[in-house]
């Protein structure tokens, strides 16, 4: 491999460090108007009166949209749609949109919209909410009976508060109409989803709409669902007959795009004295809204984690008068792993068995849920490599046994898993006779480096230097690819690019293989390769032809192919997953309750690594997210008003530079020919999954205190 697996700087790096990369509301459009959203101040009830007259009189105000004058759209399931009725479903619901000549005018006018409500009592207190069981997999074996019969038992309850994605770029869109044609620049993880949503909203053909998301300033799941604001931006643009820029404020984001739900879990583990697991009962409840059911599969990945013959994972929903939650990085998996991997650590201490050892005792050689083999699973090697790098053998087992001066030192570990998914994806390649090369696919790049890895894959498969390739994405004019999420992009879109490159080779060969005298006359497709800008025979590399010459020979300006890749049928015979062992050191100042995660080692088995530079950055990001989840992040709610309170970056704490220290990655590559041709698994979620549990386990090791309610803030240690 010439380019795959080698470090490469981001192809969009210069654009990002010079400020030239344009995000959703940064495009220069003709004579823009600015939108500003007015939100409900109550959580439940009806709008009894809405008076826009004062606001309308302000200079610059062009239009104020409310439920009384906004276009009504057909219901799409029970997804929230803005300005459709007087019904208030949650505090912070958009109830009016002011459009004005300037941002300052719109913001001020928004303050002058007068609204009265017929209030009802909201219910947001999770502990007071009745839970409703959802459908889930049937129990494996006889979990309750085997738990009761187990000689060693752990039973513990864990909770995780609501958390918010807080990408740095606020959600926003720029929309304009040219006749019946609508263009929207949106902060989105999936341009096709936004296009379909807008087409249904305005009842116009999808072909009349172009949605673009060329750069996305982080999203982490918050732009997977189509949010309510692109419709508002497009509607406002139609009303005022001008382009409209509409951004949520940071505060509005907290109720504008969903969040990681509140999660309560109970784990019951039964084991025998040797450490063998006999039964796990993993129960989870997460909150949803009053109008939509959102379940994230908190208990899903636990079922394949260990060899354990008896397993049950009931899942419940709590209906609240809050907006609907959504997917947030490693949805379900990280929340579930916090409970399961904390409980396994508790079991290790109950049994006095090293936490790594206990996990290896219960290592699942095949999928315990289905009995299928794993397509590859180098988790054992991750433990070996990670433990070595971390220095695990120097760990003293007892809590409070390791010190660094006045600080208590704790070492913890946990396993992370995530599915190695692939979805159908299409890519297009055009090779021109001037040597330039365009590759495109309608996915997005919210930060992991899709622009770069797809360029690398194209370069490898086409035998052309990366710098000569332009890879484009984030546009509904490009062939359809799945939204960026669930760690599926490189496996899906990368496979499409790889496949398309093969088709380019076939077409190029077709231009020259029938011409006598051509060095490639009569060549078999299987015996050809593209290397160094040449099409050549594998069996005799002296028989070659420059790609540009092949095009000339064929009398064509360019060759173009579109190729759709799909997951192979063979995958069905296997369970395809990515695994990781994660090791964390914390240092705890007990007198102040301050915890620092001073050292993290991620040992990761996720198939083939395309670009270790950007992959390591993802690992780092996962660690930082894990630190946030374990130690900092919480959205507090005042249940008297049903209102989220910590809706800004001063009150909602995310890790900053001073909270993050050493992060190292060991890539334990797997040769996996089942997952896809290139052997790619995803990693963007995986790297986060085990971290919060590993930190909590390290805090226990340091202090002897088992904190089961995140985040582990100083008050919980004092």
């Amino acid at each position: 491999m010439r380019y795959i697996g080698k470090e490469m700087s981001r192809v969009d790096g210069v654009a990002k460090v010079t400020g030239r990369a344009k995000y959703a509301v940064e495009y220069k459009v003709n004579n823009p108007a600015y939108g500003y959203i007015v939100q409900s101040t109550v959580a439940k009830g009806r709008i009894s009166k809405i008076d826009t007259s004062k606001a309308e009189k302000l200079p610059g105000v062009l239009k104020i949209l409310t439920h009384q004058n906004a276009l009504k759209v057909e219901e799409e399931g029970r997804q929230f749609r803005a300005l459709q009725s007087d019904n208030v479903l949650f505090c912070g619901q958009p109830v009016a949109l002011v459009v004005a000549d300037t941002f300052e005018q719109a913001r001020y006018a928004a303050n002058l919209v007068e609204i009265e409500y017929a209030k009802e009592e909201p219910s947001t207190d999770f502990s007071a909410t009745p839970r409703v069981q959802t459908r889930g997999p049937a129990p494996r074996g006889k979990p309750a009976e085997e738990f009761a019969n187990s000689p060693v038992k752990i039973e513990a309850e864990y909770s995780i508060p609501i958390e918010h994605h807080n990408p740095m770029e606020p959600h926003g869109a720029t929309a304009f109409w040219e006749g019946e044609k609508l263009t929207v620049f949106d902060k989105s993880q999936g341009v096709y989803g936004v296009r379909g949503h807008l087409a249904r909203s305005f009842n116009i053909p999808e072909g009349n709409i172009n949605v673009r998301s060329l750069f996305v300033g982080g999203a982490f799941g918050s732009s997977l669902n189509v949010n309510y604001y692109p419709f508002l931006a497009a509607l406002a643009a139609r009303e005022v007959k001008r382009p409209v820029k509409l951004s949520l404020t940071r505060r509005q984001m907290f109720t504008g795009h969903g969040y990681r739900p509140y999660t309560a879990q109970k784990v019951s583990i039964g084991a025998d004295e040797s450490g063998k697991l006999r039964s796990i009962i993993h129960e989870a409840s997460t909150n949803t809204s009053s109008y939509e059911e959102f379940a994230e599969g908190t208990t899903r990945f636990g079922r394949t984690l260990y060899e354990c013959p008896n397993y049950d994972s009931p899942y419940y929903l709590l209906k609240t008068d809050l907006p609907t939650p959504t997917w947030m990085r490693a949805p379900g998996a990280v929340s579930g792993a916090f409970a399961i991997e904390s409980a396994i650590d508790e079991l290790a201490y109950e049994l006095k068995i090293d936490p790594v050892e206990l996990r290896l005792i219960n290592y699942a050689e095949k999928d315990p849920e289905t009995g299928k083999p794993f397509s590859s699973k180098a988790l054992r090697e991750c433990f070996t490599a990670g433990a070595k790098k971390f220095g695990w053998e120097k760990r003293k087992f007892a809590p409070r046994s390791m010190r660094d001066g006045d600080l208590f030192v704790g070492w913890g570990t946990a396993v992370g898993t995530w599915g190695a998914f692939q979805a159908p994806a299409t890519a297009k390649i055009r090779v021109r006779n001037d040597g330039s090369l365009l590759v495109g696919s309608g996915t997005t790049d919210i930060g992991p480096g899709t622009y770069t890895v797809c360029t690398i894959i194209a370069a490898e498969a086409l035998g052309i230097e990366p710098k000569k390739i332009e890879f484009v994405l984030g546009d509904t004019e490009l062939p359809k690819a799945p939204s960026q999420g669930g760690s599926i992009t490189t496996a899906s879109v990368g496979s499409a690019v790889y496949g398309a490159a093969g088709e380019v080779r076939r077409k190029l060969l077709g231009l020259v293989d029938k011409k006598e005298g051509s060095p490639l006359f009569g060549a078999a497709f299987e015996d050809t390769e593209l290397v160094d800008g040449m099409l050549r025979l594998k069996s005799d590399t002296s028989k070659s032809m420059r790609i540009v010459d092949a095009l000339k020979e064929g009398g064509v300006e360019y060759v173009e192919v579109e190729y759709q890749s799909r997951p192979s049928a063979e995958r069905q015979n296997y369970t395809t997953m990515a695994h990781g062992a994660q090791f964390v050191e914390v240092k705890v100042d007990e007198s102040l309750g301050i915890i620092k995660a001073t050292r993290v080692v991620e040992a990761t088995a996720c198939g083939r690594i395309i670009n270790p530079l950007t992959s390591h950055s993802q690992e780092m990001g996962g660690v930082v997210w894990g630190i946030g989840m374990a130690l900092h992040e919480a959205t507090e709610i005042d249940h008297r008003y049903g209102k989220m309170m910590t809706t800004n970056l001063a009150d909602y704490h995310v890790p900053v530079s001073a909270d993050v220290f050493s992060v190292e990655t060991d890539f334990v590559e797997e040769k996996d020919e089942i997952v896809n041709e290139l052997g790619i698994k995803g990693m963007g979620e995986l790297c986060l999954v085990g971290i919060p549990a590993a930190i909590a386990n390290a805090v226990y090791h340091a202090t002897g205190k088992r904190v089961r309610d995140l985040p582990i803030t100083p008050d919980k240690l004092l």
Partner: protein, 268 residues
């Protein structure tokens, strides 16, 4: 037509579990069948539009290109003249307008980012008269006579500022949205160090070392949030520019060359 869909559906090779999960993740599901019907129909005409997006989106219409603020009488209009990236600029703004919105909406300098608009995230950081300031908390009206440098003003032509180079080299960003603010902060930080200014964690109060410790750099950069979590790489980039210290990669292949070797064996 239905049969056609069914055929494709069967050929996809998703297990029932995968299908369900992808559906639950909002990545596939209902939309998939529509998608399959469309394959091959998408145009390829937009290739020219893309990557750096320097080419702008223009809506049709007879109205002038400038924002309305350029044309309309404003309430509380304030005329401000200041230097931006070495160039003298003069704008008339609504007195409520921040420096950030002036840069982004009036001067077409969208490199400075709006992350929170409340001075809590650092994405809007620019350098004014040699010091980093939060442009979202700075009114344009207060900038009369100031000399402002934004991310667009750091490179000399096509030659990047050393800090920009180092950010690319160490992959000190992912989504790139906080990056201009991080870089402006980092560049201003170098001068703070030269001036001997203390931070909360600076140890000595007398003769300060000319070079900042890692902890000091972390502390001084903690006003700039990076949600993608590139902090360790940002530290490496700053160290290289500040101290000329190159930092080794913090990743490795546990079994180096494993795949390379095997795959090459097969293909050669």
């Amino acid at each position: 037509m239905t049969d056609h869909f069914e055929d494709l559906h069967d050929a996809e090779g998703l297990t029932a579990d995968e299908e369900k999960l992808l559906d639950e993740l909002g990545l596939e599901g209902e939309s998939r069948r529509r998608f399959l019907g469309q394959v091959g129909a998408a145009g390829f005409s937009v290739f020219a539009l893309q990557l750096i997006a320097e080419r702008e989106a223009h809506a049709a219409g007879e109205v002038p290109l400038e924002p309305a603020a350029e044309r309309l009488p404003l309430e509380n209009a304030v005329k401000v003249a200041f230097k931006v990236n070495g160039e003298q600029r003069s704008v008339t703004v609504d007195s409520r307008t921040t420096l950030l919105d002036t840069l982004r909406e009036r001067l077409d300098l969208t490199g400075s980012k709006k992350g929170c608009d409340h001075g809590q995230c650092g994405a809007c950081t620019v350098i004014a008269d040699g010091r980093r300031v939060l442009s979202c908390l700075t009114l344009a009206a207060a900038c009369e006579g100031k000399d402002v440098t934004t991310i667009e003003g750091l490179a000399k032509g096509e030659t990047l500022h050393p800090m920009q180079d180092a950010f690319v080299k160490y992959d000190a960003f992912q989504c790139g949205y906080c990056t201009p603010g991080q870089i402006c902060s980092a560049v201003a930080l170098l001068d703070e160090a030269k001036r001997g200014e203390a931070s909360y964690v600076t140890e000595t109060t007398g003769n300060r070392p000319a070079k900042l410790s890692d902890d000091d750099i972390r502390e001084r950069m903690s006003g700039n949030i990076c949600r993608c979590g590139a902090y360790p790489n940002i530290l490496k980039a700053i160290k290289e520019v500040h101290k000329g210290e190159e930092t080794a990669a913090t990743w490795n292949f546990a079994k180096p060359g494993l795949l390379d070797k095997e795959v090459d064996d097969e293909t050669v």
